[in-house]
Point group: C2
Chain length 205, copies 2
């Protein structure tokens, strides 16, 4: 584990260094703290203490508590960057942009990280709670007021159900032809679903 | 483990007996055999030998190889019974019937069995392969020729993605309000998706 007050380093990927040790110690401490105390209860100061590093390292390595939370869930994108990109532009193509972005992100990582997220959620109630908090605080908070006119929580849960299900079938179960279908095929089939969940009718007729 | 040629017993649930031992030994043997050899390679005779019971016990306890396969995946319904019920009647309400049936089945079991299926699929390639074979041989074989005019495999995979994703969010992640929404609300929101995947347009426009 790196000593506190290590000088900040340029962020590197792919090789082990003192900086990577700090980052890795913060991730381990964050997973334990978020699982035990929830998002609000786990403070940056507590996580840093637990990792044995200075609290400034959280900002240095992750940019803040929310991004550390996302990384601790093994989610390979930063919603603070991705969500504004997806939400910008015509709301009638929201479903298309969201599905396309989901596919490019997870196609790049292969199935292993998604399988890991799903496995831990299905194994530990604490991980399920972390995922609930992630959806509610990190994703939903950005949708409400921008789209989702009525019942934004239900709409977000429906979108989540289709996206995570598609990820499970494509990357983890690897059911053909969805596993190797090109992105245009998947977007064409799935985007109208996500679009309706976000902005269309979802009520009993 | 029960000796071979135990006399058949009335099927009981909820208490341990010689018959339950036979059933349980068959399930363990089936899981191992299907995981190692796939659906075709694992014969009833081989599974029964592995369990140390007579091959007739497979029919006695499960009605046949397909139902043993389904039970070995911890899937709490018999597709040979459920699928014809869902497929009968107006094809324009297929999505509604399918989502309703999915909800009544899994609402009754709670989340634990679904979490167990998902956990093993996300942990073991052999379990993922078993689920692929289940969808292809047990579910898809019953849909093709009845509905799904074109590209039945893609349509089945899309339906699977929405149903399993909804199950994951409702029963495992327990994300509100989907976790405790009443069935009518969920059917109204999700059935049109499943209906379109089965019989509607899924192509790039």
């Amino acid at each position: 584990m790196a000593a506190p007050h290590d000088p900040p380093r340029v962020r590197r990927r792919g090789r082990r260094s003192g900086g990577d040790d700090t980052r890795s110690a913060l991730l381990d401490a964050a997973r334990a703290a978020f699982a035990e105390r929830g998002y609000d209860g786990a403070t940056v100061r507590h996580i840093a203490e637990r990792a044995g590093v200075d609290a400034a390292m959280v900002n240095h390595w992750f940019g803040g508590k929310e991004a550390l939370f996302t990384a601790s869930l093994h989610i390979p994108f930063d919603p603070a960057v991705v969500m504004p990109e997806v939400l910008a532009g015509d709301h009638e193509q929201l479903g298309e942009r969201l599905v396309h972005r989901f596919l490019t992100t997870w196609d790049a990582t292969g199935g292993a990280p998604l399988a890991s997220v799903i496995r831990s959620v299905a194994s530990h109630e604490a991980a399920a709670r972390m995922l609930r908090e992630f959806v509610t605080r990190v994703i939903l908070a950005r949708i409400v007021g921008v789209v989702a006119p009525d019942r934004p929580e239900l709409r977000a849960a429906l979108v989540g159900s289709q996206l995570i299900g598609m990820g499970l079938v494509r990357y983890v179960v690897k059911l053909e032809p969805l596993a190797s279908a090109d992105r245009a095929t998947v977007v064409a089939a799935v985007a109208p679903t996500v679009q309706r969940y976000l902005t269309g009718p979802i009520d009993p007729s």
